[in-house]
Each structure stands twice: as C-alpha cells, then as structure tokens.
Amino acid sequence: MRLERRAAMATLLADRGDDLLLVPGLGSTAWDAAAVGDNDRNFYLWGAMGGAAMIGLGLALAQPKKRVAVITGDGEMLMGIGSLATIGIQKPANFAIVVFDNGVYGETGMQPSHTQNGVDLLTIARACGITNCLDVRDEAALRDLAARLKRLRETLFARVLIEAAEPPRVLPERDGVALKRRFRASLGL
C-alpha cells in the first residue's frame, strides 16, 4: 500500500512540538510541509538537491537538545546517497531522515526514479550503519513513525511509500536569506 503524501505529512507533523526543526527537501516535500502549515522552524529547500540530509546533520550536531527531521523525496535522497554513509558514521541521537518514496521525479514530469527499478533506500541506509530503520507502508506504521519522531534517541531512517500523485502546489517563502534569518531568530540566534 502507498500513502497519500499530504495526509502523511500532516500525520508526521501533528502536534510537532517547539523543539522540532524541520528541513523539507526541495520539490514536493517542501510543498507538503507548507501545506500542513508554515513554521519559522521549517527550512524549506528550493534547491541544493542532494543536500537535505547533510543540512540536517549539520543542524542536528549544532542543536543537540532539539530534534531535527529531514523529510525529503527519493530523487533528492538518491542525489546525495553518499551522505547516508557519512551520517552512518556520525549518527547523532536527535536526528531523523524520512524519505517520501513515490518512485518518480514529480517536479520534472513523473519520470521513474531508481527506486522503481530495484534500488532499495532502506537497505542502503542499513548498509551504511543506520540500524534504526523503519519501512512505512500503512497508516499504523505511519503513526508509529510519528510517535518515534517525538522521542528520538538514535538516528532514525524511514522510508515512507507514497503514491505517485501531484496535489496542488502550496508554495512557501522562497527568499533563502529570509528563511535562514527567521529560522535562526526562532532559535535565539
């Protein structure tokens, strides 16, 4: 079974708590996060493809008392696939990577991604030393993931199987300097 992306994002971000810092990867996951509701502690990516997980790592290391979640797509994760090896060595306790895997590049016309042809992101994450891995294929597993995001104790990697659909875009702020400044201000920086 594949989950509907907007509902899945809403479940993951329900009652998110002030201590959650969110990095939505460019493309659909950024629109999904914006659709749930804007938040100063969302750092939406409009570019930097392949960089979401490493932005999350730098942030998690800098803010060990906050929870940091990267929620990104399979194509974005694939472009930075080596970062899973890097993160597998660091594994900060307060860090989660959630991949909405719909098997397609939604922003460019729904062309198939590698995950549709046998590439398994969950196996890759495990092979990189991230042992706390979740395979999310239904509502119950999604709720379990949402609960785990609220009490992170070790680096978590979750693949959420998402249906290939294109809900209407909800566009967040796209001025990178403004996004950076409000995010840092929300942390008192």
Binding site: W46, M54, L61, A85, T86, I89, V177
Partner: protein, 174 residues
C-alpha cells in the same frame, strides 16, 4: 604515508580554534593530513569524514542554521564537486570557510590534477567566493584570519588557497 613536519597546519588549526569552529568536514587529503589529525583529536570539534566535498557545503549550512561554525577542508579537485551546492550558500548567504590545498600547479606529477587545479580561482570568482592565497608558511595564519572574518562576519563564501609549493612535492616512487 606522508608525515607533515611543517608547522603551518598547527597555526591553521590554532586559527580555527580561535574562530570557534565546531564542525570540520573533510575528504581525506595528504596536504591536510596534519590539520585533520589535530581536528580529530580535539574534543570540541566534530570531525566529519565525507564521501564528497559537497556534503560538507550542505553541512556547513545546517551548522549555521543551528548556530555553529563549520569549516570545509578539501583539495583543489574537491571544489569542482561543490559547485552546485555553493548555490545554497549564495542564495541564503550562508557563511562557508573552505581550506583548499592545491594540486596541479607546482611540481605536479599527475597531469589529471591540472584541469581542475588550473581553474580553482576563476571558479571561486564565478561563485562569488573570496580567495585568500597562502604561498609561504608565513602567509597561512593571516590568510585564514581574513577568510574567517569574511565568511562569518559577512555571511559569505571564503576560501583559503594553500599553494602546492607550501605543501611540498608528492613522492611517487620509493
């Protein structure tokens, strides 16, 4: 194996410490071997070994979002791996301190190092990054201090370029 005996890596390390650098990303590099050792041995610095240099660009952005300063160590070929990710730093004005050891410009045995080494400074310029070149051991501390100020004071990309002559000739046969 290369054992560095020059003291400029220690001065560079001391400058990073004074600048309160807390995260250091690197791909293993002979020219940076001493500096990497010092960073790994320091309890206040998180040393992060990368699979490719562009990971370190993104990490530095995340570090700054969270209030920490990062540095990214690389050799000249690594700059080529960073180019698109530098757009993140430019679009958001994230500070980025890069320390680049040069290949392909002096006593280079390997001609495959020349194409990227020869375009480091123009590429930095195209990416709106300021370059501070150290040609002699005495230049390193001053160049690094200026780059630190530019990066974190102005939220810009700044690169210290460590000349190949400073690093020495790589021994290919024993």
């Amino acid at each position: 194996m290369i054992v560095q005996t020059a003291d400029w890596p220690d001065k560079l390390f001391a400058t990073l410490k004074r600048a309160n650098i807390r995260q250091v990303g690197y791909v293993p590099d002979a020219g940076h071997s001493r500096l990497i050792e010092r960073c790994c041995a320091d309890a206040e610095i998180r040393d992060v070994v990368l699979t490719t240099e562009e990971e370190g660009v993104a990490m530095a952005a995340g570090a700054w979002l969270g209030g920490e300063r990062a540095a990214l160590l690389m050799q000249s070929s690594g700059l080529g791996n960073c180019v698109n990710m530098l757009s993140l730093m430019r679009a958001c004005r994230f500070p980025l301190l890069m320390l680049i050891t040069m290949r392909g410009e002096w006593e280079e045995f390997n001609p495959w190092q020349v194409p990227m080494g020869s375009i480091v400074e123009p590429v930095l310029g195209l990416c709106e990054a300021d370059a501070y070149r150290a040609r002699t051991p005495g230049d390193v501390e001053n160049a690094t201090e200026r780059a630190v100020q530019r990066a974190f004071g102005d939220e810009r990309i700044a690169a210290v370029i460590l000349s190949q002559e400073l690093i020495g000739k790589k021994v290919w046969t024993k």
